[in-house]
Symmetry: C2
Subunit: 284 residues, 2 copies
């Protein structure tokens, strides 16, 4: 009787918990490519997105600063009673994920491990390329993640600092971007890799050009797609997928320039941003 | 007797004051092009440079946020007992200069008015182009400054968001940058301007390519050169040029990533950065 009551109670609690939103943060708008894939896979979920646009970009900052900002963003999302946190930023995933996991009782999913696992599943010749911001590549975090899964894999990292500004400018196609991509990727192309990880959330918007430059023989790993898959598995495994049929809530918070976020962000997200609010993130 | 004493005292005070450094700040490394021109013109001066690299770039932030950061940077420099402040950032000069002037008793020189004045002196057909970050151009501050000097002048502003990342990547020459410049500048080239203001402190490093794309008929106005000239005039007029022959002090403060600042910054400055320190800017 007691155990039955407790079982009912757990189920009720679980149903309430399942209603709570998924929290997702990034330094800016890049994480919207991850949100997009999560919404594709789990369109019923309530979502809260935080873009720390007052302090973007994280990719050029020191590790210490990145972790400080990431902890502040996490505290903000925990205050919104989220059921799971997605760190939709490669730089933070590369540097600060362990620190964030220690701070919170809800699951924390980064974009790095899902991408690393997919790369290991994809490669045949155990030669994997990774492209990302300077900080992500120089942290060697992808190298560590991939070789922890299979030590006999060779990982070649190349920073592509101009890709983010090109995407934000909307130049996701055309001659200039093709030439920039050719210059960044020519070394990787000649290095006999068979798999390339897009290690920055902006890069899915350049998939067409990257694919064109690298050629069909090389499999591109889109961390956004892989991360959405892992989020789905965790929520399903814990019985925390939302079951309610009421329309889901999607709220966007930014620390600066909501108009610019909306304008550029709708291109990343692929649909309208209705609710957006500028907030101050309390400094820890 | 009394007046003589007072005169000696003033002169002594003035000499002491002249020893104090010029303070200069920017959101990052761009302002080093301004510092470079000041050092060219006044090599004896003591200098303190603050690069707010933890919060760079300002050019994509809201006006409110830019002014808040600028006020915090100004407080930091005033704490170092500087004799004059140079706002070596077009975004701040465009948005926050009046607020900063109200806050301080030492002269505050922005990069915007010196550039606007030089453009007015240069133009023959009263058609002036201005290039800069999105925030600088959309603020219309150059337009206001130039037309306040001569209301019959036509001002055409074009934002060039990719120029800053290209310069920071070190791609100040070559095909990609030439194509980007051609795309941004083609409208201005056809618009019959005779003078073009480089309204961003990074752009002097692209002078070669911009000149090549625009052609010889168009005079480029380098705000860094013009600002240094105005600083010299103010200090000379107030009898505050340093007279001491002892080697001058040059100190650099940054809010994040001193190693990256030193590496990229020495290219901007044209010589070694010896003393560099990471600091926390107190939030107002």
């Amino acid at each position: 009787m007691n155990s039955n009551q407790s079982g009912n109670c757990d189920r009720t609690q679980n149903n309430t918990f399942a209603e709570q939103p998924i929290g997702i943060f990034d330094s800016g708008i890049g994480g919207l490519t991850v949100l997009r894939e999560i919404l594709n896979l789990m369109p019923r979920e309530n979502m809260i997105y935080l873009g720390d646009t007052a302090r973007v970009p994280y990719g050029i900052r020191s590790s210490e600063t990145v972790t400080k900002y990431a902890m502040e963003n996490t505290e903000f999302l925990l205050g919104k009673k989220i059921k799971l946190i997605v760190v939709a930023c490669n730089t933070v995933s590369a540097i600060s994920l362990d620190t964030l996991k220690k701070k919170t009782d809800v699951p924390v999913v980064g974009v790095l491990f899902p991408g690393a696992e997919a790369a290991i599943r994809s490669t045949r010749n155990r030669r994997i390329g990774v492209i990302g911001t300077e900080t992500t590549i120089h942290s060697s975090a992808y190298h560590r993640a991939i070789t922890s899964l299979n030590p006999e894999t060779e990982v070649l990292g190349v920073p592509c600092p101009l890709f983010v500004p090109l995407v934000e400018e909307g130049w996701t196609d055309g001659e200039v971007t093709r030439k920039v991509a050719t210059r960044y990727l020519e070394g990787l192309k000649e290095s006999n890799i068979d798999t390339l990880v897009l290690g920055c959330t902006h890069y899915p918007l350049l998939k067409g050009i990257i694919n064109e430059v690298m050629g069909d023989g090389i499999t591109l790993i889109d961390s956004a797609v892989e991360t959405a898959r892992v989020v789905g598995e965790i929520l399903k495994g814990a019985g925390l997928l939302r079951k309610n049929d009421a329309p889901p809530e999607r709220k966007f918070f930014v620390t600066d320039s909501p108009d610019r976020f909306r304008k550029v962000g709708e291109r990343f997200l692929g649909h309208k941003i209705e609710y957006i609010e500028k907030v101050e993130i309390p400094v820890i």
